[in-house]
């Protein structure tokens, strides 16, 4: 095997075996749907015009967690068909903790398209404009926090309860995107999409350091350097020393329509975003593509509250010397300790604007057309969330019958799971184009009975992904070829 191919193979295997997790709708990539330009702005649908309307255009929901399933939280047959929860004393909590990763993430993402429009310009150009409401969250809970809650701190003696990976980031913003793609050569097509972002509300934790060292003598050293940034109508109450006493949501700001409108307009929290993409046709059969999506940021200026706590505190027990010599009571010594702890981690607030960056994605794809309407594809999608990288690798088989029907099945290695089967289906009766896409089809289900009702939930819920909706589609750029055969004239 030539060296470069060997390294390529090793790289691919590494991707599969590594901490594989991403968040996208990979199945969509090779389907003939207007929405695939969200993954690569160089991709274009075959229809000349599409329109997405509020509500009807559908929605996209992604929820990733990398640590628990229903069956991890509830255990059957202890005894017979009785069920115990993870909080039951019979549950071996070590079994549960063994399933917990060092960094446990929960990444919800909801996109609700408000409006979408795309149309052909000239022979190869395509313009698309869309407006989306987006909620994007990323919460990371360190394993040590679970161990601390369930097992206590004794297991950490001589080590550190490391909470430095604790992170929380939740953004609600509105995205206005205007894109254009065009063939630059017969083989190369570029696409670009600029985005104007209006932030509605955000909460973001900037965790530089957070941990508790538990020494062998059970003394503790608390260390924190953490800032929580909010852009939301909050009411902060302060103490005389300007430290924060309490913080509550100021719901009086949302008492009337104008208040609500002012809140959700997000006019002052402005950001920019960019998607870039390209496709290259090596041949009629082999096409490769790449894109970077969601490069961007939002500068949060409205209703900003920064809560900051930085300090270090060592606790090695109440010193009872003062009690012994009669200068203080034990209650006073205890109160002194609490005051000292409060002073060490005094929470102060400020109103400094802050910036959050969008988690951006990098897609590398290749497809091979086995026939005119049937192709196979491979897609690597990497999502960069701060210092974390999520990876997924998707293999798919795709069929696109003009504008009328598009279907795809896929296998995705993602999120520590290697049994992700996905599928997408789109069909177009007339001008209506319906679609449903999911990267993860629940192969097995759990039936949850309660009282007289029952619901089915996926047996594995590490990743939930669903995109469905309806487009209004007009025209079709795929036309029958009417080339005449070349005739050799002698």
């Amino acid at each position: 095997m030539p060296g470069k191919y060997k390294y390529l193979l090793i790289s691919i295997l590494s991707l599969i075996l590594a901490d594989v997790s991403a968040q996208n709708t990979q199945v969509l990539y090779f389907m003939n749907l207007p929405q695939n330009h969200l993954l690569n702005p160089a991709l274009r649908p075959s229809n000349s015009v599409y329109i997405g309307l509020p509500v009807l255009s559908g929605f996209n929901i992604n929820v990733n967690n990398n640590f628990v399933n229903f069956s991890d939280v509830f255990l059957k047959g202890q005894p017979s068909d009785s069920i115990i929860s993870v909080l039951n004393p019979k549950y071996n909590i070590d079994d549960f903790l063994a399933k917990i990763k060092n960094k446990n993430s929960l990444e919800p993402e909801v996109t609700v398209p408000l409006f979408g429009l795309g149309f052909s310009v000239g022979k190869t150009g395509y313009v698309f404009f869309d407006v989306n409401e987006r909620i994007d969250g990323n919460i990371v809970i360190p394993k040590d926090l679970f161990k601390l809650a369930f097992k206590g701190n004794e297991g950490f003696v001589g080590s550190k309860i490391d909470l430095s990976s604790l992170r929380g980031d939740l953004k609600y913003y509105r995205e206005f995107g205007l894109g254009y793609s065009k063939d630059f050569t017969n083989k190369l097509r570029f696409g670009v999409k600029g985005k104007l972002l209006f932030g509605v509300a955000a909460a973001s934790i900037d965790n530089k350091a957070l941990g508790i060292t538990v020494n062998n003598d059970y003394s503790h050293t608390f260390n924190a350097d953490i800032t929580a940034n909010f852009s939301a109508p909050l009411k902060v109450t302060k103490n005389a020393d300007k430290s924060v006493e309490s913080i509550v949501f100021d719901d009086s700001r949302l008492d009337n329509g104008s208040g609500i409108a002012n809140f959700i307009s997000g006019k002052k929290n402005i950001g920019l975003g960019l998607d870039l993409g390209a496709t290259y046709d090596f041949s009629e059969k082999l096409i490769v593509s790449a894109s970077i999506t969601d490069l961007g940021f939002i500068k949060w200026k409205k209703d900003v509250t920064n809560l900051k706590s930085k300090g270090k505190f060592e606790f090695s027990g109440l010193n009872i010397l003062d009690v012994v010599n009669g200068t203080k009571t034990i209650d006073e010594v205890g109160q002194d300790m609490i005051d000292s702890l409060k002073n060490s981690f005094k929470v102060t607030d400020s109103n400094t604007a802050f910036t959050t960056f969008l988690p951006f994605g990098l897609s590398l794809a290749g497809s091979y057309n086995l026939t005119k309407s049937f192709s196979v594809g491979v897609l690597s999608y990497s999502r960069f969330i701060g210092k974390q990288i999520r990876e997924s690798l998707t293999l798919s088989a795709n069929m696109n019958l003009g504008n009328a029907f598009s279907a795809s099945i896929s296998y995705t290695a993602e999120n520590h799971k290697y049994d992700n089967l996905g599928a997408g289906l789109a069909f177009r009766p007339g001008i209506f184009q319906f679609y449903i896409v999911s990267d993860r089809l629940p192969v097995t289900w759990n039936k949850i009975k309660s009282d007289n009702s029952a619901v089915l939930i996926p047996a594995n819920w590490n990743t939930f992904n669903l995109r469905l909706g309806m487009n209004l589609a007009f025209g079709n750029r795929i036309k029958k070829k009417n080339d005449k055969p070349m005739v050799l004239v002698e």
């Binding site: 068909d81 003598d217 027990g317 069929m399 289900w445 759990n446 009975k449």
Partner: protein, 407 residues
């Protein structure tokens, strides 16, 4: 191929629609128990404490220049006799009675063999330390090495006065007498001489004082007599008196902290104060909510005293001890030299563990018996000395495993 692919899609969609139920969870059979039991370990208290931090120097505690510690008690007006208090045995015959402050006091007997003696009874008195209950709960041996009592007196009488003082310590049915040999007071020589101030020391060389103090007594009785020998015919018109007309005296008790203890144990039985009386169901400190409570104590002890504690849950109905925690080697005593002075520190680590069995027995018992045992270095084989700069450095940490009910 298209046909095959459509078949595949069809199968897939069927699979999606029908699904495959892996497990059925009947949540009606979900156990309602929801508990967590984290084991929390935390430093509780610490201290680096010297003797002088605990006990301040003052009127009753004296720190010597060598930092030795002596306890001092003063008893005023032990002696207060005028000539009128003296009685001529020749004139009165048998002296049979003196003031009886306490019916338990022995009747002071006077030597009436000398017809030319004047005798005064020292008013019997007693001191009740009100520690009988405490002493009833104390066992083991305790010995103070060098106690002393100094009688400071002012004597106006020109003639020699001999004092016979007796102290009797009593603890339960055991009594120890001072066994002090009568001694003479110094006195003025000339008629115009002022009253003479003198002192007399009572210690282990002339009495059984160490035994008396080491009893230790719950009640101390003292009584005695003063005898004045008359040279020839008595002249009772006052010519035997110089200056102050009263013989007065006070006592100063000195207890240098030089002692030995061997299994000096205090035991007490208390009502079970931890028992749930059923009044407060929301009691956050319900002992049954603990699976484990362990107290870890580490000490660097610079005192020549070791301590041990034991706590037993006692059922007075069945007369059985249900559970006990025992910290025999709680604190070990520091090493001492041949003079009883500490030469270093002894480091001890002890865990006192209260198990779930112990907690479960709390509500099954009505009494708690405490034992607190002290031993000096060498288990009381030799005397040790206490100095004000002795220190103990200790840390106590708690390991708690609560059973937190989340229902």
């Amino acid at each position: 191929m298209i046909k095959k692919f459509l078949y595949l899609i069809f199968i897939l969609m069927t699979f999606l629609t029908a699904g495959c139920v892996k497990e059925t969870y009947d949540m009606n059979k979900l156990s309602k128990k929801a508990h967590i039991s984290p084991t929390m370990a935390v430093s509780a208290i610490k201290g680096d404490i010297s003797f002088s931090d605990i006990v301040k120097a003052g009127d009753t505690v004296l720190f010597g220049q060598d930092k030795s510690v002596t306890l001092i008690f003063k008893i005023d007006s032990v002696l207060d006799l005028s000539l009128a208090d003296f009685v001529s045995l020749k004139n009165t015959g048998e002296f049979s009675a003196g003031p009886q402050a306490d019916p338990n006091l022995p009747n002071p007997l006077f030597d009436n063999s000398k017809s030319t003696q004047l005798v005064a009874a020292i008013k019997p008195d007693s001191i009740d330390f009100k520690i009988d209950e405490l002493l009833n709960n104390i066992t083991g041996t305790f010995g103070i090495a060098n106690p002393s009592i100094t009688l400071n007196y002012s004597n106006p009488f020109l003639l020699p006065v001999e004092l016979k003082l007796n102290f009797t310590g009593k603890r339960k049915d055991k009594t120890v007498d001072l066994n002090l040999t009568p001694f003479s007071l110094i006195h003025p020589v000339g008629l115009t001489d002022p009253a003479v101030k003198g002192s007399f020391i009572i210690d282990k060389s002339n009495s059984s004082l160490p035994d008396l103090v080491s009893l230790p007594p719950g009640k101390l009785y003292f009584y005695g007599k003063a005898t004045m020998d008359l040279p020839g015919k008595a002249n009772v018109d006052g010519s035997y008196i110089s200056g102050n007309s009263r013989l007065t005296g006070s006592l100063e008790v000195k207890l240098p902290l030089e002692f030995r203890m061997n299994n000096f144990r205090f035991a007490d039985t208390l009502d079970n104060f931890m028992k749930d009386d059923g009044g407060n169901k929301d009691n956050a400190l319900n002992p049954e909510n603990f699976k484990l409570l362990r107290v870890n104590i580490t000490a660097k002890n610079g005192f020549p005293l070791g301590a041990a504690i034991k706590m037993s849950l006692y059922d007075s109905v069945t007369h059985t001890i249900k559970s006990a925690v025992d910290a025999t080697g709680l604190i070990a005593p520091a090493p001492v030299d041949s003079n009883g002075k500490v030469t270093g520190v002894t480091e001890t680590s002890t865990s006192i563990e209260f198990t779930q069995t112990f907690f479960s027995n709390i509500n099954k018992t009505d009494k708690i018996i405490f034992f607190f045992t002290l031993n000096t270095t060498g288990n009381g084989a030799k005397d040790i000395k206490i100095y004000s700069d002795y220190r103990i450095n200790f840390k106590a940490s708690l390991v708690v495993k609560p059973d937190i009910n989340l229902n």
